[in-house]
Symmetry: C4
Subunit: 266 residues, 4 copies
Amino acid sequence: MGIKSKLYEIIFESDTKVGKLFDVLLLIVIVLSILLVMLESVPSIEKQHRFLLNLMEWSITLIFSLEYCLRIWIVSKPKRYIFSFYGIIDFLSILPSYLGLFFVGTHGFIVIRALRLLRIFRILKLNRYMNEGAIIIKALKRSRIKISVFLFAVLTMVIIIGTLMYLIEGAENGFTSIPRGIYWAIVTLTTVGYGDISPVTALGQFIASFVMIIGYAIIAVPTGIVTAELSRPSKGKPSGQVCENCLSEGHDIDDQYCRYCGAKLQ
Amino acid sequence: MGIKSKLYEIIFESDTKVGKLFDVLLLIVIVLSILLVMLESVPSIEKQHRFLLNLMEWSITLIFSLEYCLRIWIVSKPKRYIFSFYGIIDFLSILPSYLGLFFVGTHGFIVIRALRLLRIFRILKLNRYMNEGAIIIKALKRSRIKISVFLFAVLTMVIIIGTLMYLIEGAENGFTSIPRGIYWAIVTLTTVGYGDISPVTALGQFIASFVMIIGYAIIAVPTGIVTAELSRPSKGKPSGQVCENCLSEGHDIDDQYCRYCGAKLQ
Amino acid sequence: MGIKSKLYEIIFESDTKVGKLFDVLLLIVIVLSILLVMLESVPSIEKQHRFLLNLMEWSITLIFSLEYCLRIWIVSKPKRYIFSFYGIIDFLSILPSYLGLFFVGTHGFIVIRALRLLRIFRILKLNRYMNEGAIIIKALKRSRIKISVFLFAVLTMVIIIGTLMYLIEGAENGFTSIPRGIYWAIVTLTTVGYGDISPVTALGQFIASFVMIIGYAIIAVPTGIVTAELSRPSKGKPSGQVCENCLSEGHDIDDQYCRYCGAKLQ
Amino acid sequence: MGIKSKLYEIIFESDTKVGKLFDVLLLIVIVLSILLVMLESVPSIEKQHRFLLNLMEWSITLIFSLEYCLRIWIVSKPKRYIFSFYGIIDFLSILPSYLGLFFVGTHGFIVIRALRLLRIFRILKLNRYMNEGAIIIKALKRSRIKISVFLFAVLTMVIIIGTLMYLIEGAENGFTSIPRGIYWAIVTLTTVGYGDISPVTALGQFIASFVMIIGYAIIAVPTGIVTAELSRPSKGKPSGQVCENCLSEGHDIDDQYCRYCGAKLQ
């Protein structure tokens, strides 16, 4: 077994001991790199520990660069890796560091530095460990139409309430435009309640009370939708099998005969 | 086929290609018209782009007017359309633009302009695409008595708490009247929490803490009600049919053959 | 049929037409009386409409007094009515108005006036119309131990977090004492978030973030408890029957034979 | 029966009358001691009632010390008790009072005083009364992977949103660093909404609205997870067994006889 296939096992797979160790190490470096970007944005920390932060930043960039090159070298079809989702993420997580060199002191520098945070998506690589996540995503997917309808209803409600409050409260109470009224309506309906804009007139407060109670009641809807999906027994769910005889769909995974025509399922 | 019946197919129905295209175009114009009303209410945008906004406004009004006239001309019983729900919505969505001409510069002008937002209800025309919405509405309808009882209980609670806080905190801490106390109670119980009024005395804060925890616990009630309704299998639930050949269970109501052995179901 | 038994039918029962009408009229008067108490507490309204408010107040008091006397006169055992729950509520809802006469201008006057709001409990008389409420209350009752345990856990959490924040943030950032820290912890955990006290130090904000996410996650617990109770099919629940043969419990209401030993159930 | 085994029954067990009384008395003392620590931290109360508070503090400390010594004396293997979870809690709940004597007036004094709150964990001793709590904890444990995945997704979302807002709003609007942006994102996504930092620019408010609606929708996920777990019948769920004698269904897994006809189940 050549060095290439050995490295492949370590870097791309995770069923050997060394492969798992590599995954854990990579996870630590990713978390470290994210913490680094955060800390660097705090003015007081940045001033005091500039040298240390720079040192760590370039160490991490070098590690990620090395990993990126290794991956390209190892895989049999480099182009396919480079243009794959993870290939692009890997590339984007080292690019900003190098780009930063050309933009030092410019206005765009801060944005480019922040782009390093795209490294966070590298964590998605670890999703092979998360089978449970798939169940949640599947439940969300199955309920996506219901949730869209719900969000659409909320949006309509929020536009009408926002306009109403704009007319009632007016610019002198902070409701300077309809979009701002809608912003307030969203803040209130979702029970966030910043308090940066809040109704002052009696009628406005009455309507606000109404909106809050509505918001309190309708939060039940998305919850109900997702819960109903998650409670649905997982086995016996449609397998995507198609009957070769009558072309019907919607069979369960453990079905062996078509339930519509009785033919044997493949 | 005359031009009238051809237009009828395009405007009123959506199963032909052109009919679908018409629906999509109309949806875009509706969304545009809503965005327009919103943007116009922002003082800075209104000043800078007054001409462009006016131009778009009148283009949209003309399109809607044309559509309205076409609909009246096409349908066999115009009166029935005019006084139907959608007929009134269609009329109300063009009326404010024309009315605005007579009220330029007056106090009511801003209200009339805002009334154009009634166009948002035109989107309801598209609800034939949303079968999923019906399930949610049905679940809400079936639980409407339970939710009413719950809201009634919340209202009673909120009146008592609001009065109590008015007596405890008094006008000097922002609780100037019982309705204001009730407003605060709603803001707190629904976990919105603006912070425009908040208890200052120790006793007031103690009661507030109590109200918050109550609110935290009772949000479970509407959620539970709606979830229980949505989880209730409507149709297509296991029918309890037993296959006479292999005695297997768990067949759906519309299954005609056993999915395990392929025998015909009774 | 004497006038007494006729009045009894009208006032105490609600299955005749006049009885229903009486109930509806009473409901209107109750709601009016509550609105009156609220409006009276608003200084601007009280000053402007003092005479009208007083007039309405005494009309309502007279109606309630009349009703109270009638009820005592009608029932066969007046003492039993007077000391029943509704008898006391009826008495308490007229007492403050008369008491107010003796306390005009004193400090306690405002409290006595507010006590008139006890009339709100008169609405409970109408609960015979609300069978649906019973289902919710039953579900809440069945889950009362689970909810108590949950609230107890929340309380413990909140005391520890509040003390921690008191130590970290200290009096200079608004956390002047442990009870105040606990107040903040409740405001945050329940996602109310007034913003009257909010963490200022970095460590405080870190812990606050942690508390919020915890609060976001554990709101699922009471919801889950109540939903599980409401979803539970009501029939077929353990009947409390005990098998006479093997003394086993946990049989369903419609079971006729012991499921553990096969003996006939009583 | 010697005094030791009698005391053992009172202190460690709770099935005798005296044992239960001891438990209740201990609970009262624990709650009193917690209230004491809280009240002591309020400057105004501490100044006025210093002597009384000190007296109560030392009484409670003595009671706890006595109980601790008794427990060590009674149990057959003192070491095992001392290093057990409850032994350590018992020790930690008396230690700070004695330690405080050495640190009077120093900076650490206030922290040591607060440590007395560790007494709260003594309440956990009473968990033998709470069987219901076990069901909740079991449901939470079973859903811990799903909840972790959810919290991980929330964390990723919050980091990206926080960075975005830091770039859009900038230091002049309160978003002074990425961690602060993340703090804001958590405050908003969890619908706490302090309002100490809130977006000022139009784009910032637009993104904030988006975040709020997302937060409103995804709160459904943990709720759904926990509810699905709590609703899941743990044991005794229908086994699908069919009685061979009367062909009835709906028997539990551990049923051995048909509950409808009494025949032996296979």
